[in-house]
């Protein structure tokens, strides 16, 4: 008896996932535990393992396709098994709003790409390409659309440089012949034909199509945004648009933390279990400072402030898929060792894609630390993770001249701290005092090892 494999639901807020990779293809044998496909939400990535044994009989979504959770993704059954009945009953209980003919559960491959997601890339759409002064006659536009011919680059010979039918016809003559299928796919997916195809007499076959613009051949590739990229883009843009953020930069004498770091390294050689990093120490200092400036440990909600009793510390983590900010809940309850361990744990989970999506929500953290010090960044303006009121950027440590007293100047290592705060939530004086407090905490930090 064949079984449907659905897109699992990951976390309360997840509505759909993108299939990032198929590890099996239609017709492959699968065993229990085999990875069928990898997928990601807007915040994390996962792998779906086979729970039954058999043959992958049908695949409904290709890689890159966004699948609503609980939707059928594929079918595993016995070789040659008739799955039409299964598909029919599955359809009856499922909510399938956008499925066209033919029936439920049928393949969502190429023909389903007409959704609005692709529209913006359609090079055939003259409104994109003809923009500016040069117009395109409705007839020219229609012929081009029918023939899947991109309008960009076509020189208009009509009145006032308008692209008219004959220009499109001319361009068509210069283009290799396309097979019917190639034409249709090119039209549907907005793909381009190469100068010469691999078919007879240079005919372009569907497989020859590329999404590369022939004018800038090979120069770029248009890729749809991953869910996560879309989300980051949206969040960052919203943050800069919707808040009054500015950044103060201040240096902290790093001799103390460097000394502690040396001690840790040494202790580790003697079996000390925790690799307490400078970042751990910065976070500890931040937690301590936040306890003294609760106003900064907050969310700005427009007409009110949510001031947190506990510190839920967000940590910006760079991963292959993009920036992630997991949270360490109740971080003020933790010792430096506990803090260090938990931070490593969540960062790791982010990198492997196994993080609980709920821990990635901006609302989950009360304050965020973003550390670019490792990369040698000397100063930056981190972007607040709204609705949080502030974020601390941690820079690299550089030596700076310092009055050592008695007219003697020496070079002292300084760590740059960049605090971006929402001026709606905090005023400059308070923010400065808070930032200075972090520096003081760093300079006076004591750790039992």
């Amino acid at each position: 008896m064949a079984e449907l494999v659905i897109m699992p639901k990951q976390g309360q807020s997840v509505e759909s996932c993108i299939i990032t990779e198929w590890h099996k293809k239609k017709g492959d044998k699968v065993s229990v535990g085999d990875i069928l496909f990898a997928y990601e939400t807007d915040k994390a990535s996962f792998e779906e393992e086979a729970k039954v044994e058999g043959v992958l009989l049908e695949v409904f979504y290709e890689e890159g396709y966004e699948v609503p959770v609980l939707e059928n993704v594929c079918v595993i059954g016995e070789e040659g098994e008739d799955i039409s009945a299964l598909l029919a009953t599955a359809g009856a209980v499922e909510k399938k709003e956008e499925v066209d003919e033919p029936a439920v559960g049928s393949s969502h491959l190429a023909e389903d790409n007409s959704g609005k997601g692709v529209e913006s890339q359609q090079p055939v759409d003259g409104s994109e390409t003809a923009g500016g002064k040069k117009g395109v006659s409705p007839r020219a536009r229609n012929i081009a659309a029918k023939e899947a011919l991109p309008l960009d680059g076509i020189k208009g010979t009509g009145p006032k440089g308008r692209v008219i039918a004959r220009d499109v016809e001319q361009a068509l003559e210069n283009r290799p012949k396309l097979t019917g299928l190639a034409k249709e796919i090119a039209r549907e997916e907005g793909l381009n034909a190469p100068v010469e195809g691999t078919g007879p007499a240079g005919t372009v076959k569907a497989s020859d199509l590329t999404s590369i613009n022939p004018v800038y051949a090979g120069d770029f590739e248009i890729k749809p945004l991953s869910n996560m990229r879309k989300l980051i883009a949206k969040a960052m843009h919203a943050s800069l648009q919707n808040s009054a953020q500015l950044t103060h930069h201040l240096g902290a004498d790093a001799r103390n933390v460097l000394a502690i770091r040396q001690k840790v390294k040494k202790a580790m050689e003697e079996g000390y279990p925790t690799n307490i990093t400078i970042n751990d120490m910065v976070c500890m200092a931040v937690i301590k400072a936040l306890k003294k400036f609760p106003q900064a440990n907050s969310h700005f909600l427009g007409d009110s402030m949510k001031i947190f009793n506990k510190v839920h510390l967000g940590l910006a983590v760079d991963t292959d898929r993009g920036l992630m900010v997991p949270v360490v809940k109740n971080a003020d309850d933790l010792s430096i060792q506990g803090l260090s361990n938990q931070m490593k744990e969540v960062a790791n989970a982010c990198r492997t894609g196994s993080i609980d999506p709920d821990l990635l929500a901006a609302e989950a953290a009360s304050f965020t630390v973003s550390n670019l010090g490792n990369y040698g960044v000397e100063m930056f303006t981190p972007v607040i993770n709204l609705p949080q009121s502030a974020i601390l950027g941690v820079n690299t440590i550089i030596p700076r001249p310092k009055d050592l007293g008695g007219g003697v100047y020496g070079f002292v290592p300084y760590m740059g701290l960049s605090l971006t705060y929402d001026h709606r939530a905090l005023d400059g004086g308070e923010a400065t005092r808070f930032l200075k407090q972090i520096a003081i905490e760093l300079e006076t930090l004591e750790i039992e090892i």
Binding site: S137, P138, R139, N142, T157, G158, P159, R162, I164, R166
Partner: protein
């Protein structure tokens, strides 16, 4: 210009003087005792009844307009009500002796005349005739309404029918005499001999003459009365109507029983005001309107002023005038003096006259005065007259309530049936002849010299080798028109044609050559140079049931018949609730060579007016086929012809112009040349320049143009044009009309909307310049030329390689010209 009449210079130049006969003014002087031998008591009382009924009817409307109700029943009537309170004796006196065969035409102030004529008809028709009329009218709709719960006799029922039908019409109810589409100023009821009233001052002045022409030409019993106001005597169309009605030819040239004057009485319903203008003393110079008759013909139109405040005087006058008409000595002009107490309309504050004046006339009120005569003469008692009034009051109130009851008297539901009026604009019938009888002709068709001449012609322009026959040999466009028209003359006995130079000369452009030999005077004659009367009389002629082809010699003269073409001809089919049909084909010849007032293509003007069909053929085959279709139909057609191409041969229709009868449906464009790269849509004679352009495009630029001849403007089937545009993607439209406001723009808009996705460029218009038409030698700079078409294609549609423009079709020039208004 009949040769039978010799203009002798000796006679013409002789000294002498004109003398006039005295024109009687208020000469009636009979006493009531003397009249007793002419009228029974019933007659006397009926006159009283009819006047009182009109008075109450108008009073009711006045109260509705001024107080928002009548006898406690509220009603709002936003439409017009031009009341005739005070004029009742004039209306009843007029109608008293008329039968249903006698037709009356009226003005905007004609409720009284409708009711008077209706009541007179009810009196004269017997019960079975009356019942038949009521049952037949709109399938008995009105009859059923007034019959319900009524037990009186047929005449009483007919009275309810008359009042209800008129009132429902005034209140725009679908149950009105004209489905509520005419209203107060246009109400009428032909079965009682009541023909259209007219909201244009003097509108009936020429239309009624056409009705009289119909009666005369078709030997119909009865006379025609045109009730027009004293102020309308200043309007051109009324004067033209008078001139037309008094043409010498009726008495001098028409033959046999046709000899004699028109059976028409032009009645000046002289209430002494034209809106606020006082005619005698202020806005006119005649002092007494009857004087006008002296200026019209030697008989002075038998003109007379009658005291319109005494019904017996009016009756007496009509009796005498009807006798004159019976003797074929018409036309007659009657100046019926009267007075309206109510203003021009209820909104009129009467600021132009004194209270004393109104009161002085009220003291001599026609009903009060007559009442006194009846009582003093011992004909009726006060109580008897009171009883009549009470009965009237009751009847009017009941009919008022019925007519405003939305259940019983609904208005047209244009939401549920949005095309009701649209479906009434044209009657679209196909009728061989309007009457079954032998048409009067002077010779068998085949003996006609023109017919014989045409028989020797080549019906296709080219020989079998493609070489054109000589012009003289070719069957020409004018021959196509002639064949269609003479065919109809031999088919339809009611068919007549007239205009300037139609007889003897055969029309200025020789279309009618040969018709004079074929037809007696009364079927083909020369009219005065009076376009308003030419078209106006044709409208009256058609209204009564005849088919008629009036001719406007130059399109530029259409303006002279503006009201007739714009306000009358297109309106009456729908405005009558489809009671009337308007089978009038106006031939309009578009000139050239003769400058600014003889060279204009005004197709756009008439195409703009809803209710007219408009055609403009450009080939002999189309001219004959379209003329046949126009003459077979029942709608008004403005049939444009071009003087540039009367002599053109048939170059398109294979096998040439058929000898037999065929029709080309109005509204179908025709592809005259097939092509694939650009469509040229032309109207009228411009076709040939479009074809020249197509030839040049092919030879010089390798562009194949499809040329479509619109043939018709209204109606118009866009489908073949859209099909062509789908193929070519480009269209240019051209005609000789000045480009601004040209019908081409309307077509271009429709094409843009209907074929937008197929267009490679916006549709482009090439019309004449927005100038005066200059002299012939300069015309090429005014009318579209082949190279204009090519220049426009090059500039606006698709640049042509190596083309050098001669004319300026740039955007900048387009803006500049519009800024300048040229």
């Amino acid at each position: 210009m009949p040769k039978s009449q010799f203009i002798d210079p000796k006679e013409a130049r002789k000294a002498g003087q004109l003398t006039f006969e005295p024109i009687p003014v208020n000469q009636y002087s009979k006493t009531i005792e003397e009249e007793k031998k002419n009228f029974s008591k019933d007659d006397f009382l009926r006159i009283y009844h009819d006047m009182s009924l009109i008075r109450e009817f108008e009073t009711m409307l006045n109260l509705i307009k001024t107080t928002g109700g009548y006898k406690g029943v509220e009603y709002n009537h936003p439409g017009p009500a031009h009341l005739s309170i005070g004029q009742e004796a004039a209306a009843v006196g007029m109608a008293y002796n008329l039968t249903v065969d006698d037709f009356i035409f009226g003005s905007h102030r004609s409720h009284g005349e409708i009711l008077a004529k209706g009541l007179s008809a009810i009196q004269k028709l017997d019960d079975s005739q009356l019942e038949l009329v009521m049952e037949d009218f709109f399938g008995g709709v009105i009859y059923n309404i007034v019959k319900k719960n009524f037990s009186g006799d047929i005449k009483a029922l007919a009275k309810r029918f008359l009042i209800y039908g008129t009132l429902a019409e005034i209140f725009a109810r679908e149950t009105g005499f004209n489905k509520g589409l005419g209203g107060s100023m246009h109400a009428f009821f032909t079965p009682f001999g009541v023909y259209p009233n007219n909201a244009i001052v003097g509108g009936s002045g020429d239309i009624a003459v056409g009705a009289a022409l119909y009666k005369k030409v078709n030997r119909k019993p009865g006379i025609v009365v045109a009730n027009i106001g004293d102020a309308s005597m200043a309007t051109g169309p009324v004067w033209e109507g008078l001139m037309f009605s008094a043409m010498d030819q009726f008495k001098q040239l028409w033959e046999g029983d046709m000899k004699g004057g028109l059976p028409i009485i032009i009645t000046i319903m002289n209430n002494q005001y034209g809106m606020g203008g006082q005619t005698a003393g202020e806005t006119m110079g005649y002092k007494i309107a009857a004087r006008i008759g002296a200026g019209v013909n030697p008989e002075q139109m038998h003109a007379e002023r009658v005291d319109g405040y005494n019904p017996l005087a009016v009756i007496d006058a009509y009796k005498r005038k009807q006798k004159i008409l019976e003797e074929k000595k018409g036309p007659v002009l009657l100046d019926v003096l009267t007075y309206r107490y109510s203003g021009h309309s209820p909104s009129d504050a009467s600021s132009y006259r004194t209270k004393e004046e109104i009161e002085a006339w009220e003291k001599q009120d026609c009903i009060l005065g007559y009442e006194k005569q009846l009582i003093d003469g011992g004909i009726a008692t006060k109580a008897e007259l009171e009883a009549i009034k009470e009965e009237i009051d009751e009847l009017i109130l009941e009919m008022f309530k019925l007519s405003i009851d939305d259940e019983i008297s609904p208005r047209m539901d244009l939401e549920k049936q949005p095309e009701l009026i649209g479906d009434m604009m044209f009657s679209n019938e196909s009728v061989d002849r309007m009457e079954e009888r032998e048409p009067e002709v002077l010779m068998p068709l085949e003996e006609n010299p023109r017919v014989k001449q045409i028989a020797r012609k080549e019906r296709f322009a080219f020989d079998k080798d493609g070489k054109p026959f000589s012009k003289m040999k070719q069957y020409q466009l004018r021959d196509g028109l002639f064949e269609a028209i003479i065919d109809r003359f031999y088919k339809d006995p009611t068919m007549i044609a007239y205009g300037e130079e139609n007889r003897d000369w055969g029309g200025a452009f020789a279309v009618y050559r040969g018709l004079t030999e074929a037809l007696p005077y009364h079927r083909l004659f020369n009219s005065p140079i009076a376009e308003a009367a030419i078209v106006g009389t044709a409208i009256g002629y058609a209204m009564c049931g005849g088919r008629v082809v009036p001719e406007i010699m130059y399109c530029d003269f259409l303006g002279r018949s503006g009201d007739e073409v714009f306000n009358q001809l297109p309106k009456w089919q729908a405005m009558s609730g489809n009671v009337l049909k308007m089978h009038v084909v106006i031939r309009v010849s578009v000139g050239s060579k003769y400058g600014a007032q003889h060279s204009q293509d005004w197709t756009s003007l008439v195409a703009h007016i809803p209710g007219l069909k408009v055609v403009f053929p450009a080939t002999p085959y189309d001219a004959k086929g379209l003329m046949n279709a126009a003459l077979q139909g029942t709608d008004p057609v403005i049939f444009f012809e071009s003087q540039r191409i009367y002599d053109v041969g048939e170059m398109f229709h294979e096998g040439g112009v058929p000898e037999g009868y065929y029709e080309i449906p109005l509204g179908e464009p025709d592809i005259k040349r097939e092509g694939k790269d650009v469509t040229i849509l032309s109207i009228g004679a411009t076709l040939y320049r479009a074809l020249d352009a197509a030839k040049e495009l092919e030879e010089k630029y390798g562009m194949s143009a499809e040329v479509i001849d619109a043939r018709s403007l209204v109606p118009f089937n866009y489908e073949p044009v859209i099909e062509s545009v789908k193929k070519t993607g480009r269209i240019i439209l051209t005609s000789d009309a000045s480009a601004r406001g040209s019908f081409l723009n309307d077509m271009a808009r429709n094409i843009s909307e209907l074929a937008f996705d197929y267009l490679d460029a916006p549709p482009v218009i090439v019309g004449s310049r927005n100038w005066i038409t200059p002299a012939f030698e300069l015309e090429d700079s005014f009318f579209p030329q082949p190279h204009w078409i090519i220049d426009a294609i090059h500039e606006k549609i698709v640049p042509l390689q190596g083309h050098v423009v001669k004319t300026n079709f740039t955007d900048a020039e387009q803006i500049r010209r519009n800024k300048m208004g040229v």
